[in-house]
Amino acid sequence: MVSVLEKSRIPDLLEDLSKKYSVAYFQKDKTALSAKGYFFPPQETLFSYLFKNKKLSVSSRSRRKFLLFGLDPIDLEALDQLDEIMTKPKEDYFYLQQRKNSIIVGLAEYPLKVPVTVGDLILEKINENQYRAVALSKIGFDLIKNRNFKIEKNPEITDYPEETNGLRELVKDSEFLSEVVLWSWRTKHPIWDKLGKICLGCGICTYVCPICHCFLVEDRVKLDGSDCARCRLWDACTLNNFAKIAGGKNYRPNQKYRYFNWFYHKFVRAYKEYGKSQCVGCTRCQKYCPAHIDIEKILLEIIKDYKNEKSISA
């Protein structure tokens, strides 16, 4: 017995759901951005402070549950990582408030081989017209009760190939990547000098990345001086002043260091912290980089040289 949803019923389903929840249909091909912004917005107010009576209020979530529909398996994996980052070792209150108020419905264009660990309901494409519903939580089970789902005994199941790419395959061996990236810096691999000159320091790679989570906090005071909003904004470690402290000292004074730090965080520090690369191979960064930097090519180049050196020394 399988619970299935006809592809043609997706709009009806979303309409039904939007009566109860505030629904967003995430369509990867219609935006450069990932879905992280729903929980970690490009800018958000954390606190409001009224100067007159010193009243502090904490931004609260809306009472209505938020349903995010349409994340593919790659973005689900990224969301799972971001959840972990925002939970350990200390909890990010604002992110987790948004997440706890949300329902995630994934949409996979192929039957999943590996179980997904994030979300409430996954819809897996089993043939040209149908998705199979896999509930992952109590809310997920409730969603399947919607009239647009039906129970079928033996639906036709096609084994569509898993969506993958070179980068996605590379990041699977996160232990190896952490070693290679660190090796490339220690041995002064010329690629970092080259990238230091090519990278424009615009931060786009970090904005489109579904896992990058650098931020800064800024106070904004109303023109009449009556209140102040403490806002959190996306920041990027590739921007000029990211590691600059009061008094003017910049701990990463040139682009080479800043660009390497981005790599170092994704592949070395992240591996030490969480045991995996903070990259799921979504390829947004290489698609939207105005300088056409392709991180897969960078990794392949340093891997090639690493292997060469190791084979010579061995």
């Binding site: 954390l46 606190f47 402070y49 100067f51 010193k54 502090l56 904490v58 980052i85 925002m86 070792p89 200390k90 909890e91 990010d92 209150y93 604002f94 987790l96 408030q97 810096w185 220690r186 989570h213 650098c214 931020f215 800064l216 906090v217 800024e218 106070d219 005071v221 102040c228 403490r230 920041d235 470690c237 990211f242 590691a243 600059k244 402290i245 009061a246 008094g247 701990y251 990463r252 260091y257 390497f260 730090n261 170092y264 965080h265 070395v268 520090r269 030490k272 912290e273």
Partner: protein
């Protein structure tokens, strides 16, 4: 779930001018901390900035910050008066490894505005004087007027040996001038059972090479309180990372070899 970003208001009990651009703020609140832990002090409308706590960890009624007028937050703090309010979050970070220091000779090296964590550590030593061997403080400042611990020196000298040095002396200055490498001769420690604790600006590295290393102190037993832009305080925002460490979580105190061999 606790909101770790939410600051608490705290009243300024006393302001003392320590030098042309440094003020001491006494804040009325109990904070339980280890010397070298820091707080994020803030002013609504301006933001927050990290400061090491300068007072004794045994003081239960208040804590002190030394604020150098150098950025947006510290500059507005300088304009405040006694009785005004600022906000506080923390304490954050690890602090000096007090248990490890126990029973050993200690050499403290500090310069300029790097003194707060060291000052707090000195208060801890004085309270537990018998648990430690010989204790030295080497403190350098630009001019005699920039010595932020002027008022404490005579009290501290009863328990620890203090060497003061300045870059530009004035008439009547009785201390040392410049980086005092010959102090190596004045410091009598057992290098096998001694530690160094440091906090201060860049030239401190020279002190390590020219004073601490000749004393026979290995990098592993030199503890440095590092500085970065600690912005969120809880290891999320990435501003204070140094290599694979977060200054706000893993630091600010590191072994010198951790800092020295770090790629950034």
């Amino acid at each position: 779930m606790k909101n770790l970003y939410q600051p608490e208001p705290v009243k300024i009990e006393k302001i003392e001018v320590l030098s042309s651009n440094v003020k001491l703020l006494r804040l009325k609140k109990r904070i339980d901390f280890i010397p070298a832990q820091f707080v994020l002090a803030g002013v609504w409308g301006y933001g927050e900035a990290p400061f090491g706590i300068a007072s004794s960890p045994y003081e239960k009624k208040y804590f002190d910050l030394m604020v150098r007028d150098v950025g947006a937050v510290s500059s507005v703090i300088h304009s405040l008066k006694k009785g005004d309010e600022i906000t506080i979050r923390g304490p954050y970070g690890n602090g000096f490894p007090l248990d490890f220091l126990k029973g050993k000779d200690v050499v403290m090296v500090s310069g300029g505005c790097g003194i707060p964590p060291i000052a707090s550590l000195i208060e801890y030593f004085i309270k537990n004087r018998k648990n430690f061997g010989r204790i030295y403080l080497l403190y350098g400042a630009a001019t005699p007027q920039d010595i932020l611990i002027r008022n404490e020196v005579s009290r501290w000298q009863k328990d620890i040996k203090i060497f003061l040095t300045v870059d530009k002396p004035i008439a009547g200055w009785k201390g040392y001038v410049g980086l005092v490498t010959e102090l190596v001769k004045e410091i009598h420690i057992n290098p096998l059972d001694a530690v160094a604790t440091m906090c201060g600006p860049g030239p401190m590295t020279a002190a390590v090479e020219k004073i601490l290393k000749p004393l026979g102190l290995p990098d592993r037993r030199i503890f440095v309180s590092d500085e970065r832009k600690m912005h969120c305080g809880i290891g999320k925002c990435q501003h204070c990372t140094t290599g694979d460490k977060y200054v706000c979580l893993d630091g600010p105190v590191f072994n010198y070899d951790q800092v020295d061999k770090n790629w950034d």
